[in-house]
């Protein structure tokens, strides 16, 4: 039916066919969720909330109306869209009239606090995304696949987002503090001046000590548990494995207390004690990862070796271990990196100043995480934040380099079965 060149009719027919309103709703919802998430994470106040809710509401209403006119299949979803748009509009308008605090029988509440608004923005944004996708959604298997990929990518982005923020913060705040003096001198004037050279040396030495203590022990345990004991003493092995898992979950401060009660009386508050404590902390990770790596070596490789007259040890030494090496290296690097970044186990044994290079195993040692912790404790009273950020930057750099080396070795020895 031709109605002539009626402008209103053209607009209406465009609106009913166009996906634009739903797209706008989708973009607004995504924006709302992301801004809200950022505000939640950083605590910054973002003054455009009301505008945001206003825009969300409008676009939802529009997309709801459009879909309704198009006679979409899923009517319930459209009603949701309309209701949702109304709710958002109400929030947007009522926010300006609401009192800034409410006195609930002596209990003060701020109903439109930054937190609530951010949280609302995230929540409504996410609901909005799910609703606005409806009119746009392609319900074919291909469409489902695409949206599944999209969700997975979003999951990755959400994971990477805080990581990027952390690294970004540390680099931005820490990098300007890195000077030659900072890297090569000891701390002076309660951390306000000087550098972190002894702490860097201490952390590297601790890593070395962990390497020599925890790696042979951990790999040895893993080999015994996976290769030798699993058949004969399966019940005991299960208990040991469970214990290792539990040990993995023990808070690091408990390791610190344990060290204070057990190692300190033996070796004093020393480098050796620190290394032993951190090794204890790293062991479960190394055992678990090495065990998994050993388990993933195909049984038919072992059988092939046995069938050629190799003994069990020869099989482990020559076939199983080399095949499991990439996984074991990953576990070892993870374990050492984790332990080297720990503060709590060193609280009772480390030192803040005084030692530049431990003369023996039985002297005190500085460590970067502990240094950072101490500096942070002085903030406010003394001007130490620049040095604290810089120390954090160096610590992060050491751990990242460590992981990069691990990755490199793993790729080099990667084997296919």
């Amino acid at each position: 039916m031709v109605k002539g060149e009626n402008g209103l009719w053209v607009l209406r027919s465009w609106l009913t066919r166009s996906k634009l309103p739903a797209m706008v709703a989708l973009i607004f919802s995504c924006g709302s969720a992301i801004i809200g998430f950022t505000a939640l994470g950083t605590g910054h106040h973002i003054p455009i909330y009301q505008l945001l809710f206003l825009m969300l509401g409008t676009s939802f209403l529009a997309s709801g109306i459009c879909s309704f006119r198009r006679g979409a299949k899923n009517k319930r979803k459209i009603i949701h869209l309309l209701a949702f748009g109304l709710i958002e509009l109400i929030i947007a308008f009522s926010a300006s009239y609401a009192p800034s605090t409410i006195d609930l029988w002596g209990l003060n509440a701020a109903p439109y606090s930054n937190f609530l608004f951010s949280f609302g923005a995230v929540l409504f944004g996410l609901i909005g995304v799910s609703l606005a996708i409806g009119p746009l959604y392609d319900f074919s298997p291909f469409g489902n696949q695409k949206s599944a990929y999209l969700l997975l990518i979003i999951a990755i982005l959400i994971v990477l987002y805080p990581l990027a923020i952390i690294i970004g913060q540390v680099v931005i705040n820490g990098a300007p503090g890195i000077t030659w003096e900072f890297l090569t001198e000891d701390v002076r004037n309660l951390g306000q001046e000087g550098g972190i050279f002894p702490a860097i040396v201490g952390t590297l030495l601790l890593m070395l000590l962990i390497f020599f203590i925890a790696i042979p022990l951990g790999i040895g345990c893993a080999i015994y548990l996976e290769e030798y004991a699993s058949g004969r003493f399966s019940f005991i092995v299960r208990i040991i494995k469970t214990s290792v898992t539990i040990l993995r979950g023990v808070p690091s401060i408990v390791f610190g207390l344990f060290a204070f009660a057990f190692f300190v009386p033996l070796f004093g508050p020393s480098f050796l004690t620190g290394g032993l404590t951190l090794s204890c902390y790293a062991l479960p990770t190394i055992i678990r990862a090495s065990g998994e790596a050993l388990k993933s070596v195909p049984q038919n490789l072992r059988e092939g070796s046995y069938a050629l007259g190799a003994t069990k040890w020869q099989t482990i030494r020559r076939v199983v271990l080399p095949s499991a090496l990439p996984g074991i290296i990953t576990g070892a690097v993870l374990g050492i990196g984790e332990a080297a970044g720990e503060t709590a186990p060193l609280l009772f044994i480390g030192t803040f100043t005084g030692v530049s290079f431990p003369p023996s195993l039985f002297d005190r040692v500085q460590a970067l995480p502990l240094h950072l912790y101490t500096l942070f404790g002085m903030r406010g009273a003394w001007d130490v934040m620049q040095n604290a950020w810089a120390a954090a930057f160096v610590l992060l750099l050491i751990i990242l380099v460590m992981n990069a080396i691990g990755l490199f070795i793993r790729e080099k020895y990667r084997r296919e079965f």
Binding site: R302, E303, G304, S305, A307, G309, T311, R318, P322
Partner: protein
């Protein structure tokens, strides 16, 4: 014909489930003996008894007697390592180690303590030649064994087994993962190996059993139903069950 392997009343249980029931058979020297039968009948289990490969399977119990060259292999003081050097095995799925081709073939000798480079080189070369693989890999002995095709990998596994100079070679469906061309190559190889070795091959492929073997044993649910000269088994089986299986009218 001298019997190389004598199996007497061999029974085997996995976690209490019986997989072999009183198998008794004599396997002749320097002949190819095929073991056929439907899936799950205990063929693989049976040949894995001959080099005590079942030892590493948890919950496995063996009863009965297996003697090789008159020596009982299940007696208490039997040396498993020595036994496995004498009885080599090739598996269903090619399982080369993730090393170089050379190291794969040299592996058996190295674990036996042979480290002389010159001798090793000779052994590797000889074994690869015997396994009809040498020409294809002579220029890339240092390459990873994983770079070979499936058929080449399986011949590499055969070469690896030949390198330890066994007297008996067990083959557990060696061609089931291979294409017809690779299969044909391995079948020719098996016929050649017969000159020097006692070969026992498990196969699902009846034509293959007929082509390569001198003797055939038919197993059914852990029992040895029929055992005899291949031609007789295929052309004139005594048991009805055997005939049904061979002609494909099973079940």
């Amino acid at each position: 014909m001298a019997a190389k392997i004598m199996v007497k009343d061999l029974s085997l249980w996995y976690d209490g489930k019986q997989a072999l029931k009183d198998v008794t058979m004599d396997i002749p020297e320097k002949r190819v003996t095929a073991i056929i039968g439907p899936s799950g009948c205990g063929k693989s289990t049976f040949i894995r008894c001959l080099n005590r490969m079942n030892d590493i399977v948890r919950g496995c119990r063996v009863k009965g007697k297996v003697t090789i060259d008159g020596e009982s292999i299940y007696q208490n003081n039997a040396d498993v390592v020595k036994l496995r050097k004498k009885v080599g095995m090739v598996f269903q799925k090619p399982n080369p180690f993730p090393f170089s081709i050379y190291d794969n073939v040299a592996y058996g000798c190295r674990v036996a303590g042979m480290n002389n480079k010159k001798t090793l080189k000779e052994v590797v070369e000889r074994s690869l030649k015997k396994a009809a693989l040498y020409e294809e890999v002579r220029d890339r002995l240092g390459d990873s064994a994983m770079s070979l095709s499936g058929g080449q990998q399986q011949r590499l596994c055969i070469a690896r087994t030949l390198a330890i100079e066994p007297e008996i070679i067990l083959m557990d469906e060696p061609c089931s993962a291979l294409d017809p061309i690779a299969t044909a190559k391995i079948e020719v190889l098996i016929r050649e190996l017969r000159e020097e070795y006692t070969v026992i091959i498990v196969t699902h492929n009846m034509q293959q059993a007929a082509r390569v073997s001198d003797y055939t044993a038919y197993l059914y649910i852990g029992k040895l139903i029929e055992y005899g000269i291949t031609r007789q088994i295929f052309e004139n089986p005594k048991e009805e069950n055997t005939e049904k299986y061979i002609t494909g009218r099973f079940g």
